[in-house]
Symmetry: C2
Subunit: 467 residues, 2 copies
């Protein structure tokens, strides 16, 4: 008997109060206002590992959502991803109380020098024993560029050109600077590392220049598992080259399927395999022991949710100030440099503010599943099959209640159906996801920067020289 394909599962979260389903911080059982306490995160990590989650996926944003009403008033009142703390600072504490949970963390590369960032990720991959993932984002908020003191953000496609260059430098550091076997740790011979196997990287890219040794010795995975979320044509090209996990927006299964097929084909076009990319959609699940219990819970949550906050969040993504529209006025204006113009979408869907507020009745715009274990399992299985995806980023509603409910109600049903693991696999995060070992496979672009590739200097070239 062949085993069935297992659903991959991340807890979708962020180091802040309001993440996706806004307003629920006001629910009496919600603990998200405790986000600045370490106990909140170590407790959550243990809960997720109890539920055999593959990982916790931590979103991040640099900048603020100042489109809706042209200010941050509602953003502050409802804590819509502001305040927001640094997600990477949470990892070592969560790692210290877990053994298998993965950590996929969003870092905006425009805010970090690659030489420094590469060491930071290596450090975390060491401390987690190979459980790190990086969600690569290039940033889309003008407010971020202003805060960083940049003269303005790059045009959309150029941001991906910059990201390509950034990644290549990171690969050189992660894959090409220290050979396998460079670290000896021979006390008697007084030989910690073999100088013949440690190489200076020399990078002259269109955006980045660097000459130096990677500061960290090789970690279990070397390159962290690479996540990405762009869905534009250039974004897909980037994903095809670099991404191992892609987070797509899928409002319905047919759209997800089309996106999934396009992504896998793009990967195949650059020499990878269709299954080299694991595809996730975000989803909000409200499970109950019975259908009635689930529907009552949904009604209860909606009383504390803030649809207006959900709209303000969406406004920032779209670059449209929805506050200027009457409830039933068609939304026809729209410019966005990161997401397909809303004008076209609005034409297709006949969007009005009233309709959008209805979509975000739980405070967020993700697909929802509300019901008993059987219904939820049917719905998830159907997303996997019809949407041709691999897994889910599970949003939180009332937290940590929503994760606990999912673990206690839904996961046993998924396990009974044979579509969810009953124990963790061995190895680091990459091996758990792909069962091909902890390192990037040889067919991945990043593997071309290993020793022997043209860009990496010979072992004898030990001295860094100025260009």
């Amino acid at each position: 008997m062949t085993s069935k394909k297992k659903i991959l599962l991340n807890a979708f979260n962020m180091n802040c109060v309001g993440h996706i389903n806004h307003g629920l911080w006001t629910h009496p059982r919600d603990r998200s206002t405790e986000y600045a306490d370490l106990d909140y995160w170590t407790s959550l990590a243990k809960t997720l590992e109890r539920g055999l989650f593959d990982g916790i996926f931590l979103a991040d944003i640099v900048g603020v959502y100042d489109i809706y009403q042209g200010n941050v008033d509602l953003v502050l009142k409802e804590s819509i991803q502001l305040p927001v703390n640094d997600p990477l600072m949470l990892i070592s504490a969560m790692a210290s109380v877990t053994k298998n949970l993965g950590f996929g963390v969003t870092v905006n590369l425009s805010a970090e020098a690659p030489y420094i960032f590469a060491r930071r990720m290596s450090t975390l991959d060491h401390l987690t024993k190979g459980r790190m993932g990086w969600n690569i984002v290039t940033g889309y908020l003008d407010s971020a560029s202003r805060a960083l003191g940049l003269s303005g953000q790059d045009e959309h496609d150029k941001r991906y050109d910059r990201a390509d260059d950034y990644l290549d430098l990171c690969y050189k550091l992660w894959e090409g600077s220290w050979e396998d076997g460079a670290v000896i740790k021979d006390m008697a011979a007084r030989l910690y590392a073999d100088p013949a196997k440690v190489h200076a990287v020399h990078h002259r890219g269109p955006f980045y220049t660097s000459d130096g040794y990677h500061l960290a010795e090789p970690s279990k995975q070397r390159t962290p598992v690479l996540y990405q979320a762009g869905s534009s044509g250039r974004g897909r090209e980037f994903a095809a080259r670099h991404a191992e996990c892609v987070f797509i927006t899928g409002s319905d299964k047919a759209t997800a399927r089309a996106t999934s097929r396009a992504l896998r084909q793009a990967a195949v076009d650059v020499g990878r395999r269709p299954e080299d990319i694991k595809i996730f959609i975000g989803i909000t699940v409200i499970p109950g022991k019975t259908r009635a219990e689930a529907e009552d819970k949904f009604e209860e949550y909606k009383r504390d949710a803030s649809p207006e906050a959900g709209l303000a969040h969406f406004a920032a993504g779209m670059g449209i100030d929805f506050s200027k529209y009457d409830l039933d006025e068609p939304i026809t204006y729209g410019t966005s440099n990161s997401i397909q113009s809303i004008t076209q979408l609005a034409k297709q869907k006949g969007w009005t503010k009233r309709q959008l507020l209805g979509e975000v009745e739980i405070g967020g715009r993700y697909p929802r599943a509300v019901g008993d274990a059987n219904h939820i399992a049917d719905e998830l299985a159907s997303w996997i099959e019809e949407g041709e995806i691999d897994g889910f980023n599970l949003t939180r509603t009332v937290t940590p209640e929503s994760y606990e409910d999912f673990i206690d109600i839904v996961i046993p049903e998924l396990q009974d159906r044979g579509i969810y693991k009953t124990s963790y696999d061995d190895g680091g995060l990459r091996n758990k996801l792909f069962s091909e070992g902890d390192r990037l496979p040889a067919r991945h672009h990043g593997a071309s920067f290993r020793i022997g590739a043209a860009d990496v200097p010979a072992a004898s070239e030990k001295r860094i020289t100025r260009a």
Copy 2:
């Protein structure tokens, strides 16, 4: 009866194998090669808290020591601060197993965008409940500039001009963006933060520009405790304005006293108090239950120490390749843009390579105290009194043995003499050190950036505008 002045104590450490006393990684009881394991650090943090250490001071270096022999061969063989992992990634795990230990962490500001770095430190100050300190360094290695892709590093004094600008922007974010009372967390009123009390920062400095809200809500200390180590004229001016703890190099007590007096006078000159700066020297202590036991241990450690590695480390700081000198040749060459020219020091001390190798017989150049509890206590008390300093950064030799020995042998004697605390004080790190509350005192330069200062926009100015 007035209580005696208490000695302040940091464990001096680094996220790497060889830190100060090089070569001891080869000692059979040394655990420093486990630096990439979280357990090593959480165990150490608990040990230090058992010993009532004020903090762990984590050094860092961006770049490599490539002066000695013109390469990094010995650096790799003896792991002389290479490999070196990111120290900030250790904090949340250590914080999760301690309640009082402070964390002073070195971050080179030339490698970090201030807007991002300010959030990172706020995040850690939240997660540690106010136990963070930042050791401000501007970097001195050419290898770091090359690795970061900079066209070359700033001339020495300009580096401090840049640091002044960087700090001012950080103060605006930490002290001036969110007023006290801005965070309401009123669920019934749906008011997480009061928009009238959250302000965009507008910074137009000679080096940095930023327009934006601080992404983090105020942490316990807001500004972390500020550490600094520069000893040049311009460095002292910088310390007088910003530093709360200064780490000085003191080869003898008279030199320490002169430096201490000059620093405190410089602080007074800018409106602060002499006691507003706590002054630390680095010291290596090898204690035994008896004098003979201590001396035997010293001899034992020396057998595994590497004086040549100590010399290679010193070479990088001085910018002099000592490998080119004969053992008894006077060292007369020297240029260093960060440390007083060695030529003058060599003339005073008659330095030769043989003499330097003798100084680093334990692998490092710090002052040493070897003996029983009584002798060590005498020596430390005399540094405090004659050197007019406040405390010590205690280097490790064989680790964690050297910290455990200090705790078990020396600290009871210091406590018996009334010159070491018998319990932690309340509050965050700043309050523990200064007993004046968790925030910067009003007379500190950083306090001038609080709401009401000219640079901070009025509460009504909510919209970020481009300059």
